[in-house]
C-alpha cells in the first residue's frame, strides 16, 4: 500500500479539523461524565422548584416540572451520541461491505446492489425513518436502524466507486500477477486504502443520524420518555419560549455544537486526506 507521510505544514492549516475535534471532544467528555455522575436525577420531578433560575444547586435552572436542566442536557448527550455512533456503525459496516462486494463481483450482482442503493439514496434518511416509525411505532432503536440503513445507501455508492478505482490501480494489478486471490487483495489492499474515505463518510453518516434522532424526538416520533433527549426537551419547552427561553435554547445550543462539530470534523478530515490518501 502506498504510504504518504503527513506533511506537517498542512496540519497547521486545517483549523476546521481542530475546531471540529474540539467540539466533538467536549460533547464526548460530557457524555462520559454523564455515565458516572450527573448533578441531579434527570427525571426527578420537584413541583416546588418549577422554572427556577440558574443557581449553585441547579447551574442551568430547572424546567416546567422542576427537573434539573443540566442533568437532562448531560443525559441527552448520551442518547444523541449513542444513536449517532450506532447508526454510523451500521451505515459504514453495511455500506462498506456491500460497496466492496459490488466493486469486485460479477456484473449482475454489482447492478442489483447499485440499483437498490440508488433508490434508497433518493429518499432522505429522515423521510425513510418517518415511514418506518409509522409502521413500527416510535423508538430510538427503530430510528438508529433506519437511519443507519438509509445513510448506508450512499456509503455503498461512494465505496463502490472508490473500491473500483483501487481495483484498477497498479499495485492491485501487481498483486494479481503475483497470484493474489480477490479475497486476499480486498483484505490487504482495498480495505486499507478505503479507510480514509470511510472515515469521511462516517462523519457525514453521524451528522445525518444525530439530526434525524433529535428531529424525530422533537416530533414525538423518536426517543420515548423517560429517556432524556435534546429533541424532546425542545418540544416540551417550546410553549414557554416567551417567559423561559433558556429552557429551549440550552438543548438547541447543544444540538448545534454537536452537529457543527461533527461536520467540521468531516470537512477537516476531507481537506486533510484529499491531497494525500483519498483514491
Amino acid at each position: 500500500m502506498t504510504h504518504h507521510p503527513t506533511p506537517t505544514a498542512r496540519s497547521t492549516r486545517t483549523p476546521t479539523l481542530a475546531a471540529g475535534a474540539l467540539l466533538v471532544g467536549c460533547i464526548a467528555a460530557i457524555t462520559l461524565l454523564g455515565l458516572v455522575w450527573t448533578p441531579h436525577d434527570s427525571i426527578a420531578v420537584d413541583s416546588t422548584m418549577r422554572f427556577s433560575p440558574p443557581s449553585a444547586n441547579h447551574l442551568l435552572g430547572t424546567d416546567q416540572l422542576g427537573r434539573d436542566v443540566l442533568s437532562n442536557v448531560i443525559e441527552g448527550a448520551r442518547t444523541t451520541l449513542l444513536a449517532g455512533m450506532l447508526a454510523t456503525f451500521i451505515a459504514i459496516a453495511l455500506g462498506g461491505i456491500l460497496g466492496v462486494v459490488a466493486a469486485v463481483s460479477r456484473r449482475w450482482i454489482d447492478d442489483v446492489i447499485t440499483a437498490v442503493a440508488t433508490v434508497f439514496v433518493a429518499f432522505p434518511a429522515l423521510l425513510l425513518a418517518l415511514v418506518i416509525v409509522a409502521a413500527r411505532g416510535p423508538s430510538t432503536g427503530t430510528v438508529v436502524i433506519t437511519v443507519g440503513v438509509a445513510a448506508g445507501a450512499s456509503v455503498v455508492v461512494v465505496t463502490r466507486r472508490d473500491a473500483a478505482d483501487i481495483m484498477r490501480s497498479p499495485y492491485v494489478l501487481a498483486a494479481r500477477f503475483s497470484g493474489g486471490t480477490t479475497f486476499r487483495i480486498v483484505t490487504t489492499h482495498v480495505l486499507r486504502n478505503l479507510m480514509p474515505s470511510l472515515m469521511v463518510q462516517a462523519t457525514s453518516a453521524a451528522s445525518i443520524a444525530i439530526v434525524a434522532e433529535s428531529t424525530l424526538s422533537y416530533l414525538g416520533l423518536g426517543t420515548t420518555p423517560p429517556t432524556p433527549s435534546w429533541g424532546r426537551m425542545i418540544a416540551s419547552t417550546q410553549q414557554y419560549l416567551l417567559v423561559h427561553p433558556m429552557l429551549t435554547l440550552w438543548p438547541a445550543l447543544f444540538i448545534c455544537v454537536t452537529v457543527v462539530g461533527v461536520t467540521l470534523l468531516g470537512d477537516g478530515l476531507r481537506d486533510r486526506l484529499d491531497a494525500t490518501l483519498l483514491p
Binding site: 434508497f120 432522505p124 415511514v131 409509522a134 409502521a135 428531529t215 414525538g220 429551549t248 444540538i255 461536520t263
Partner: protein, 312 residues
C-alpha cells in the same frame, strides 16, 4: 426522444419506484395494520374480519395494484382512525404545503445566487469568508432548531411575526397568511440556501477565472456587470441541485409545519404517524412523492430552457 418526453418518463418511473418502496416498507416489513388497530388482545375473528375489510388477506401484489389503481382514479382510501376520505384531508392541506415549498425554493435559489456570486468575487474579503463559514456550518444545523431560533428572535423578542398557526380563512386573508408563512419559509429556505451557495460560489469562481470574465472587465464593465453576463451559467447548476433536493425540501416541510403549527400535509402526516394510521400515511406519502417529481419536472423544464446544452 425529446427532452420533455424523457423527463416525463423519468418522473413516472420515479413515482412508481418510490411507491413500491413506500408500499414495501409500510406493508411488508412490520406486523400488520389489524393488530395495530385492534391491539394484541383482539380475537382472531375480529382480526380476520378487519383484514378482509381492508383487503389485507389478499396477495401483496394485488394489494399494491389495488392501491395504485384507486389512486390513479383519484381514490386515496379512508383514514383508519377517523374514517374520513383521505383525498379531502390532503386537498385541504395542499394550500399550505405547496406555497411553503415553492416560496422556500424561490427564496433559496435567489438568495444563494446573490450570496454565492458575491462570495466568489470577494472571497478574500470578510464577506466571502463569513458567507463560506456560515454556509459550511449552516448545512449541519437541523431545520427544527433553525425554526425554534427564528421564533425566539422574530416572534418572541422582536414580536414582528406570529410564532405559529395559520389564518382560518387561509389565503383569503392574504396578508395574515403571508405573515404566518414568512418564518416557516425562512426556516425551510435556510438549510437549502446553505446547500446551494456552495454550487453558486464554485460556478461563479470558475467564471471569474475565465477569459470571458476578463474580456467583460476589459470592455469597461464593473465586476457586478461582468458577473451578470454569466447569470445563466451560475443559475443552471443551482437549479439542477434544487431539483435533486426537492425530496429533502419536502421532508423539511414536514418538520417546519410541525414547528410552526401550520395546517399542512407534513404536520398532518406527523399526527397520522403518531396514530399509526398506516393507510393514510401510505396515501399521503404517495401524494408527497408525486409532488416531488412534479416540481422536479417543472424545475428541470425551466432549466432546460435556460441552458440548451442540457438537452443534448
Amino acid at each position: 426522444m425529446s427532452g420533455v418526453a424523457r423527463r416525463l418518463l423519468v418522473a413516472i418511473g420515479g413515482v412508481l419506484a418510490s411507491s413500491v418502496l413506500v408500499f414495501v416498507m409500510l406493508r411488508v416489513l412490520p406486523g400488520d395494520i389489524a393488530t395495530t388497530r385492534l391491539g394484541i388482545d383482539a380475537t382472531p375473528e375480529a382480526l380476520a374480519e378487519l383484514r378482509s375489510e381492508y383487503g389485507l388477506d389478499r396477495p401483496l401484489v394485488a394489494q399494491y395494484a389495488d392501491w395504485m389503481g384507486s389512486a390513479a382514479r383519484g381514490d386515496l382510501g379512508t383514514s383508519l382512525v377517523t374514517g374520513d376520505d383521505v383525498r379531502g384531508d390532503i386537498a385541504a392541506r395542499l394550500d399550505v404545503t405547496i406555497p411553503l415549498v415553492m416560496l422556500s425554493s424561490f427564496v433559496a435559489v435567489a438568495l444563494s445566487m446573490w450570496i454565492g456570486q458575491r462570495a466568489a468575487v470577494r472571497r478574500k474579503r470578510i464577506f466571502g469568508a463569513v458567507a463560506t463559514t456560515i454556509t459550511q456550518v449552516g448545512v449541519a444545523v437541523p431545520t427544527f432548531v433553525i425554526g425554534v431560533g427564528l421564533i425566539t428572535v422574530f416572534a418572541v423578542q422582536l414580536r414582528l411575526l406570529p410564532a405559529g398557526g395559520f389564518p382560518t380563512n387561509g389565503w383569503r386573508q392574504p396578508i395574515d397568511a403571508l405573515r404566518s408563512i414568512a418564518l416557516p419559509v425562512a426556516a425551510l429556505a435556510a438549510t437549502q440556501t446553505a446547500v446551494l451557495v456552495r454550487f453558486a460560489r464554485s460556478q461563479a469562481l470558475d467564471f471569474v477565472a475565465s477569459d470571458a470574465f476578463r474580456t467583460a472587465r476589459s470592455t469597461g464593465r464593473t465586476v457586478d456587470a461582468a458577473l451578470s453576463t454569466a447569470r445563466r451559467m451560475v443559475l443552471s447548476p443551482v437549479l439542477g441541485v434544487t431539483a435533486l433536493q426537492l425530496s429533502t425540501l419536502l421532508t423539511g416541510a414536514v418538520v417546519v409545519e410541525s414547528v410552526f403549527a401550520l395546517p399542512g400535509l407534513g404536520s398532518m402526516m406527523v399526527r397520522d404517524i403518531a396514530n399509526r394510521d398506516v393507510p393514510k400515511v401510505q396515501s399521503t406519502l404517495l401524494v408527497v412523492v408525486v409532488l416531488v417529481f412534479t416540481l422536479r419536472f417543472i424545475v428541470d423544464f425551466i432549466n432546460d430552457r435556460l441552458d440548451p446544452r442540457r438537452l443534448t
